[in-house]
Amino acid sequence: MIRALLALSGLALLAYGTVLAWEFATSRTVNAVQGTAWFIGGPLLHDGIVAPLVGLTGLLLTRVTPTPWRTPVLTGMALSGMLALLAIPFLWRPFGTGANPGLHDRNYGAALTIALSAVWLAVATAGLTRQIRSARSARTE
């Protein structure tokens, strides 16, 4: 019952979205071409390039990182990737509007560097703590 209700409302929303998307795409050629490219581009870029690269990097790091450092380093990589991703629209702006006073007018390269430094400082602290702890427990055994 819940299932049918969910499916039906989902289909109704999809139908309305399709009508809107159709109106959008047929009103101008550029809407159809670029809209489709941006729609398909996400899954293609992610499934074909980003996910395999991230997966292989993770696998490689898991193999070369000593055990106490594994979780901190992988976490640090995930956070760094996240911050770098969010920084893209600030740092890559050939299509951005000119600077408006008080909006996107900071030095975002420096801001990202500071944020990444904070992340890796935390990684170093966590890694060292774990390394010392595991060395200590090895000695007591």
Partner: protein
């Protein structure tokens, strides 16, 4: 996944052994991603309705920070959805390599619905994120595209939940000691990344995080301490001393100079500017209550007003101030006690409570009682 490196060929579903790929992980991430999408969709529809109100829609003027909060939630839930979506997709990534590609017609439709879901989700998050920073690496009209795809995203999420309901219920059983611990570690990293993403950007709207967020698009460098979304130069507006405010109402048309406006009763109020792009900031505004101007024009103070700017073109040259808002709206002449800067709308601008920034019309030339 380790077999892949030795063989150097496309993986199959069974090559993935990491704890992240377990359905307990997928289901938990799905719940949080679903909540983020739901918040984003609801607040987005709300913002759309305020800007293009259907006849039945009423948006209250109180509390004055309401739109600031709903639009902040819109943008921040979208940002939170980015790490959640990436983690969720990584969790189900092995399914991409399931063979046979298509087993039956329902299976084909299910895979198609997932492609729509993934396409719509990436489209919304990418265009939304770029829009917050006023960066447009496309030539289509952002608003129409973001609105249409929102329905596709919401519809495909609901359909997906309906299809996966049994798996979701099974996946949400308790995490127990043992293999579930490494699953929990992946979940914790994802939640941490989500928190970091939100904190890194939320300074655009949350005053407490103003000096904390490195990637906030709102800086403290705006004129008179407030960001400017559209400069006078970009709008093609210059100051002309012969300017008169034109008010049209039941008494005909009245013209008021800046000195006339200064001589009218003034009111000071703390009201926020809350932009659709997610930044917001409260400020102290002083000016003539719109209700006072309506009285001068011989109109009831609860009439809607058409506001027209000195701007020659642009989608937001005019706005309609709804009857619910006229009593508490100012035609602001001063910001923080100083005369408005030209970029903030000098000689006068509309400052209404709980409305999108694009409707706070600057460089007002005419008020017309509707």
């Amino acid at each position: 996944m380790s077999g892949l490196i030795d063989r150097l060929q496309p993986p199959s579903e069974s090559d993935f052994h990491a704890p992240a790929h377990h359905e307990k992980v997928t289901a938990r991430l799905g719940v949080w991603l679903g909540i983020a999408f739901l918040l984003c969709f609801a607040t987005g529809l709300l913002s759309h309705a305020i800007q293009k109100p259907p006849s039945w829609f009423v948006w209250p003027a109180e509390p004055v920070n309401l739109y600031r909060i709903t639009q902040g939630v819109h943008v921040l839930s979208g940002i939170a959805a980015i790490p959640l979506l990436l983690a969720k997709l990584w969790s189900v990534y092995p399914r991409l390599f399931a063979r046979p590609l298509v087993r039956s017609l329902p299976h084909a439709l299910e895979r198609l619905s997932i492609l729509v879901l993934s396409g719509a989700a990436f489209f919304q998050l990418a265009t939304g994120l770029f829009n917050t920073t006023q960066n447009y690496p496309w030539s289509f009209y952002f608003l129409a595209a973001h609105y249409a795809v929102a329905w596709l995203a919401a519809g495909s999420v609901l359909l997906h939940v309906a299809i996966k309901l049994t798996v979701i219920r099974r996946g949400l059983t308790r995490l127990t000691p043992g293999p579930d611990m490494s699953r929990r570690r992946f979940l914790r990293t994802t939640y941490l990344a989500t928190g970091v993403a939100v904190v890194a950007t939320a300074g655009a709207t949350v005053p407490l995080l103003r000096d904390v967020s490195p990637l906030s698009w709102r800086s403290g460098r705006g004129q008179q301490g407030l960001p400017v979304n559209r400069t006078a130069r970009a709008a093609g507006v210059t100051w002309d001393p012969t300017w008169r405010l034109e008010i049209t109402g039941p008494h005909g048309t009245t013209h008021l100079s800046l000195a006339d406006l200064d001589a009218l009763p003034q009111r000071t109020a703390d009201l926020p500017i809350a932009c659709v792009e997610g930044w917001s900031q409260s400020a102290t505004w002083t000016g003539v209550p719109v209700a006072e101007l309506l009285r001068l024009a011989g109109a009831d103070q609860h009439r809607p007003v058409l506001v027209t700017s000195l701007e020659r073109k642009g989608a937001y040259r005019t706005s309609v101030l709804p009857a619910t808002h006229t009593a508490s709206t100012l035609l602001a002449l001063r910001l923080g006690g100083e005369r408005l800067a030209l970029d903030h709308g000098f000689p006068c601008r509309i400052i209404a409570p709980s409305r999108p920034g694009v409707l706070q019309t600057k460089w007002v030339q005419r008020l017309e009682v509707l």
